[in-house]
Amino acid sequence: MTSTIRPGSVEWMGERLARKEDLRLVTGKGKYLADIIIPGALHAVFVRSEYAHAKILGIDLAEAESLPGVIAIYTGESIKDLINPMPQAIVKPNLSAKYPTFWPLAVGKVTFHGEPVALVIARDKYVAEDASELVLVDYEELPVVLDPEKALSPDSLVVHEKDGTNEIFSMTFTGGETEEEQKLNEKEVNSIFDTAPVVVKERFRTHRTGLTPMEPRGVLCDWNESDGLTAYITTQRPHIDRLALSDILEISAERVRVIAPRDQGGGFGVKAPFYRENIIIAYAAKALSKPVRWIESRYESLMNVGQERDQINELQIAADREGNLLGLRNRGIADNGVGTTGVYWGFVMPFLGAIELPNAYKWPKADISLKVATTNKACLTPSRAFGHFPTRFAVERCIDMVAHKIGIEPSDLRRKNLVDTLPYTSVTNEYYDSGDFLKVWDTLTAKADLANFRKTQSEALKENRYIGIGFGCGVELSGVASELLVPMENQPGYGAATVRLDPRGKVQVFGGDAPGGQGHETTTAQVVASEFGIDPADVVVTTGDTGTTPFGSGSIGARAGSYFVSAVADACRELKEKITRILAYDLEIEARNEHFEFIDGEVIYIGDRSKKSSFLSIVERIIMFPINLPKGEVGGLDATAFFEAPKPMICFNADCCIVEVNIETGDFEILKWITTEDVGNVINPLVVDGQMHGAIVQGISNTVFEEFVYDDQGQQLSADFENYKLATAADVPNIDIHYATTPCPHTPLGTRGIGEGRPSSIPGTLTNAVCDALAPFQIEINELPLRPNSIWEKIQQAKQA
């Protein structure tokens, strides 16, 4: 087999190395959740609610239970006294909100179309589905509430009666901690708006869409009295799932092991929550002491997870005639659905979305508040661009509207107000640790060549062709610091990695977070290879198994490039210190770590390059022959390091796209997409570019094609890929990526975590381009999805006006 890894290459950081993972994935040898075989595993199929809101009067299981091959059927009533209900502290944010009580299966009533009502367990998955059809649920339909604004009105029906209200979370993010400070701030902002020469006020609506990975969810649990529970789960945070299963099922934690399969078909946040299905499958495996497997169907998946965005933002911007931004005001409303999902409960996304609303601009003053409403829809689940896809759409659109009102180029207005000195703390107290926003912006505008475009645009208009250019940008979280993650998700933010050398000089790295295809095995190997001067082929990375990896709160918020590889580098450096201490002793020279170089499989004393050792032999010496060591030293080369940056970290990117709009049909084609990225020191450009392409196309697909639709009865009408349309390869453009990097001063390698928030600047950029193309019609589009039908209608209205 030809190895694509060049032996002995010197500098692995920044190398476009072909990924190690690919060799198994392109030959069909990957092992995803559904591929993991445990002999005798039973199959589970959920019976799900067909009503958006209905009492459960009774469930008749007789016929289903009599079907040969059916082993057990659970219902809410049969388990509610046997399993602790949610909420549970381990998967509950430290934020004051109303947390609904719920069990893995609906108890008393169902609150959204698709909610799990019963669980059928059978020997064969076809039989399990047959049996699920024979479970007869007697529903009494109840009225539904589907509009978040109606849900917040005092006379609305309340979905979770015990809460007494549908307003499960509300917060003001500006002015200070106390209500008085916030009120004072509000008054000051009011006066700014009263006197500002330019004020734009608009209602921005983002529809319900999100990120469905190609691999749906799955849980495979095994139980035996000696080892306890082994749970394979499609999850981004196995260590949190383990503690949650331990608390809820009351199995002491050392007898609970959660394994995220090495190969996962995408996560994008959808596999970050702790789901109720995990609980009941684990419970069933224990109760039956037989392995139980649940593979989610796409139908179930689209009705339960991957639904996010769905916000109304009443946004106002005040500015002066020269385009200096004076003030920002926003009243946000989010449609939370029923909020029955562990860790996030739905509202944590709009919470962070409000914090990130200000984006990369200097706002002297801001007044930002948010209300989150429960409705009879599926609970919001995290989706890449966590919570701030809608708020960034609102800000990036409103900034263009201000520029149009003043009569200056939107890109000039942005540049004038971009944060230009870092570190910087935003009006919502978000800390921007480092970066050069202007460098990124100027690189973009140079590539975009606006002046030339305006010429082309006017010539095209003469031929009745409407082309337009749109700009947008985004500050994104680069890992989530404990100071934000503890309150937001009740979890630590530090990265943890164990690096273990073996006597053959090979390296094993263990990480607790569970990736879903981001290439960690290769990028981590490049970091270790660069530290020890060896070949990435000699580095093996294991992730996501709570039995073998150090604690990590999960693959979330672009943690790998920021926190995980930093912990890996720290662990490597700790081992290098030990290696050089012992080598200097062996070579009988007075030298410290910085006097040695790890390169091409050797450890060389810089003072006299003839004094050196092969990496292999010094490692073998320390592990296998730990005698004649410096005082206090002991053998072994294994280190675990924990990394927490002093302050939260960010990355910054900017987008420009050019579109042509067909005014006959409202169809538009993206002719060009240019992006400039401050991604810090890059480990592998192939991987970074892949993340950017994926995020931008996800942003385009969310903005134009995908929409979760509920009818007026709360029936979810987009439960398959024919109705919930993903962008195909033929619907999206190529993407030109240009780096405009500044090393991150707060990580050992100068790397930045990138790609999590990346889709957030896409809806604004794309809609700005369409509006720019339609400038002759004075059209401003502030509602998503951005589709030809609505664009054409706006053109008709403009023609009539």
């Binding site: 589905e129 006959e664 049909t665 349309k725 962008a727 195909t728 619907d731 030809p788 209608e793």
Partner: protein
């Protein structure tokens, strides 16, 4: 997700064998399976629970494309990918080729058949629309052995509803080679490329010796009613040379008689705009192709 129980699966080698198998089952219990690209969706969602499946893959005589004394005969089991490549369609029937080239995706086109598509007559489908515009004829054989030919105008009755009874088999779809010059074209609009047609429109134009239109057939789909003729639009094209004014008149005729609904995919007004936009292009291309 998984089909309901299927008691019997048969793969007959002749049409008579098909009828023998069907005789053992009540009407509607057995399902004729061609490419399976539509019926398998219904079987897997369990909206269709056939007790007996009769797989037609061995019926070689249904797989041929031939021209017999001025009639193009396309076997019911001819696949989209074959239609998209078959030169026999090049002269007058490119509308069917346009449709077949953009049905679903490559994998669907490698399996799906013209017979399966016209018999399923999904509410929004390309192939039935092209067959209707091109005045195709469905050659049916019934279990009692008699065969009949049903013109497309009488074959497509409504969504999922055609003149084929449960005990009939479709042998082929035939098209009369026009004596005069003729041309056709099909276009559709969907949110994502090659999606099911929110609006699909096919035009078939015949020219007399002096290059003026002597016959015009137009069919639309995407209105929730399967393939529909738009006769009102056709008259305006007669004896024209495809000039914009008469095409506009034809489009006005179509929009006046076709009921374009509002649904999740498009508003009624937008459907009419698409009919105008695609309709104009399609008729123009049909005229151009006819005049070559």
């Amino acid at each position: 997700m998984y089909p309901a129980e299927i008691k019997e699966y048969h793969r007959p080698d002749s049409i008579n064998q098909v009828f023998e198998i069907m005789a053992h089952h009540d009407e509607g219990e057995s399902l004729l399976l061609a490419g399976g690209q539509s019926s398998m969706q219904a079987i897997k969602s369990r909206m269709l629970r056939p007790q007996c499946i009769i797989d037609l893959q061995n019926l070689q005589e249904l797989k041929t494309v031939k021209v017999e004394s001025g009639t193009l005969k396309i076997g019911a089991m001819v696949r989209y990918c074959e239609l998209a490549k078959n030169s026999a369609l090049d002269k007058n029937f490119t509308g069917l080729k346009d449709a077949a080239t953009h049905v679903g995706d490559r994998q669907v086109r490698n399996r799906g058949t013209i017979g399966g598509s016209v018999c399923w007559n999904y509410a929004a489908a390309c192939t039935p629309t092209a067959v209707l515009a091109l005045d195709g004829r469905m050659h049916l054989v019934s279990s009692k052995g008699d065969s009949r030919v049903v013109k497309a105008d009488d074959f497509f009755l409504g969504p999922l509803d055609t003149a084929k009874s449960e005990s009939d088999i479709l042998i082929c779809v035939s098209f009369e080679q026009p004596e005069t010059k003729a041309g056709s074209a099909y276009k559709k609009w969907g949110l994502v490329k090659d999606a099911l047609p929110v609006v699909g429109i096919c035009a078939f134009i015949k020219l007399d010796t002096s290059g003026l239109c002597c016959e015009a057939r137009i069919a639309v789909t995407g209105m929730g009613l399967g393939a529909q003729r738009a006769t009102a639009g056709e008259a305006a094209l007669l004896s024209s040379d495809g000039d914009p004014k008469s095409i506009e008149a034809a489009i006005d005729g179509i929009c006046a008689t076709i009921d374009a609904p509002t649904d999740l995919s498009a508003t009624s007004d937008y459907r009419y705009q698409l009919i105008r936009n695609l309709g104009f292009e399609v008729i123009q291309i049909a005229f151009k192709r006819a005049s070559i």
